[in-house]
C-alpha cells in the first residue's frame, strides 16, 4: 500500500517506501484494531499524516541545506482525481489532506474511502477489500467524498480547478 502511494508519477520523485513504512511502524506504537476495515483505514490515515507532515517540513526547510529524513524525498499527493490542478509546490496535496481530515469528522466511511482512493491510490476493488464493503458502496462513497472535497477546495478559492485522472 505504501509503494502504491509513492510510485505514482508526479512532479516530484517519490520518497523511499522503506522510510514511509518505518515511520508508520513508529507511529502505530501499541495500537490495536477492531477489524480489517479499522486496520486499513487507520494505516492509510497515518500514512497520509506522515506524508502531509513531510510536505510541510519540506516547505519550511526548502532553503536549508541540512537534510530532514523525509523532506528530501519530495513527497507527492496527486490531487487530479479530485479535479484539482497540480502545483509544483505540492501545496494542493497538503490542503486536500487537511480537507479530508475535516470530512472524516462529518462522514467517516466516505472519508476512509477517499483516503484509500486518492491518497493511497487504491482501486475500487482494493478499497472494497480493505474496508470490507461492496464495490458499489465504494463507488457511491467515493463520488460523494470527491464532490465534497472538490467543493471545499475550489468553492472558497483555495485551489484552482483542473486536472485529469
Amino acid at each position: 500500500m505504501a509503494r502504491s502511494m509513492l510510485t505514482r508519477e508526479g512532479p516530484r520523485r517519490p520518497i523511499d517506501t522503506t522510510v514511509l513504512v518505518h515511520e508508520l511502524y513508529l507511529k502505530m506504537g501499541g495500537a490495536s484494531f477492531e477489524n480489517r476495515a479499522h486496520l486499513f483505514g487507520s494505516l492509510v490515515r497515518m500514512m497520509g499524516q506522515i506524508i502531509t507532515d513531510a510536505a510541510r517540513r519540506r516547505s519550511r526547510t526548502q532553503r536549508r541545506e541540512a537534510a530532514v529524513a523525509l523532506s528530501a524525498g519530495d513527497v507527492y499527493v496527486d490531487t487530479r482525481p479530485l479535479g484539482i490542478a497540480e502545483d509544483a509546490e505540492g501545496r494542493a496535496g497538503v490542503i486536500a489532506v487537511q480537507a479530508l481530515e475535516r470530512l472524516e469528522r462529518l462522514a467517516p466511511r466516505p472519508a476512509s474511502v477517499a483516503w484509500l482512493r486518492f491518497v493511497a491510490g487504491l482501486s475500487v476493488e482494493q478499497v472494497a477489500l480493505c474496508l470490507d464493503i461492496s464495490e458499489r458502496t465504494v463507488k457511491s462513497d467515493w463520488s460523494f467524498a470527491r464532490a465534497w472535497l472538490h467543493r471545499e477546495l475550489t468553492g472558497e478559492g483555495l485551489l484552482p480547478r483542473g486536472g485529469a485522472k
Binding site: 487530479r80 482525481p81 479530485l82 479535479g83 469528522r105 462529518l106 462522514a107 466516505p110 457511491s140 463520488s143 460523494f144 470527491r146 464532490a147 465534497w148 472538490h150 467543493r151 475550489t154 468553492g155 480547478r161 483542473g162 486536472g163 485529469a164 485522472k165
Partner: protein, 69 residues
C-alpha cells in the same frame, strides 16, 4: 467537548447525511431537472437545496476534468 459543541457536531453530521441522500437521489438525473427536484423535495429549506446543488455542480466539474484527460 462541551454539550453544546457535541450537539452542534452531531447536527452537522446529520445534515451532511441528508445532503448525501439527496445528492445520490438527484445525481443521475439530467442537469435541467436538478433545481425542480430539489425545490420539490425541500420547499422549506432552500439552504439545504443549495448545498446539495453545489455538490452536484462540483461532481459535474470533477467528471468533466477527468473526461478531458
Amino acid at each position: 467537548m462541551t454539550l453544546d459543541s457535541s450537539a452542534a457536531a452531531a447536527s452537522q453530521v446529520e445534515r451532511l447525511q441528508e445532503v448525501r441522500l439527496l445528492f445520490e437521489r438527484v445525481r443521475d438525473r439530467p442537469r435541467n431537472e436538478w433545481h425542480a427536484v430539489l425545490s420539490a423535495a425541500l420547499p422549506h429549506d432552500p439552504a439545504l437545496a443549495y448545498e446539495v446543488l453545489s455538490l452536484l455542480v462540483a461532481d459535474e466539474s470533477v467528471i468533466e476534468s477527468q473526461d478531458q484527460s
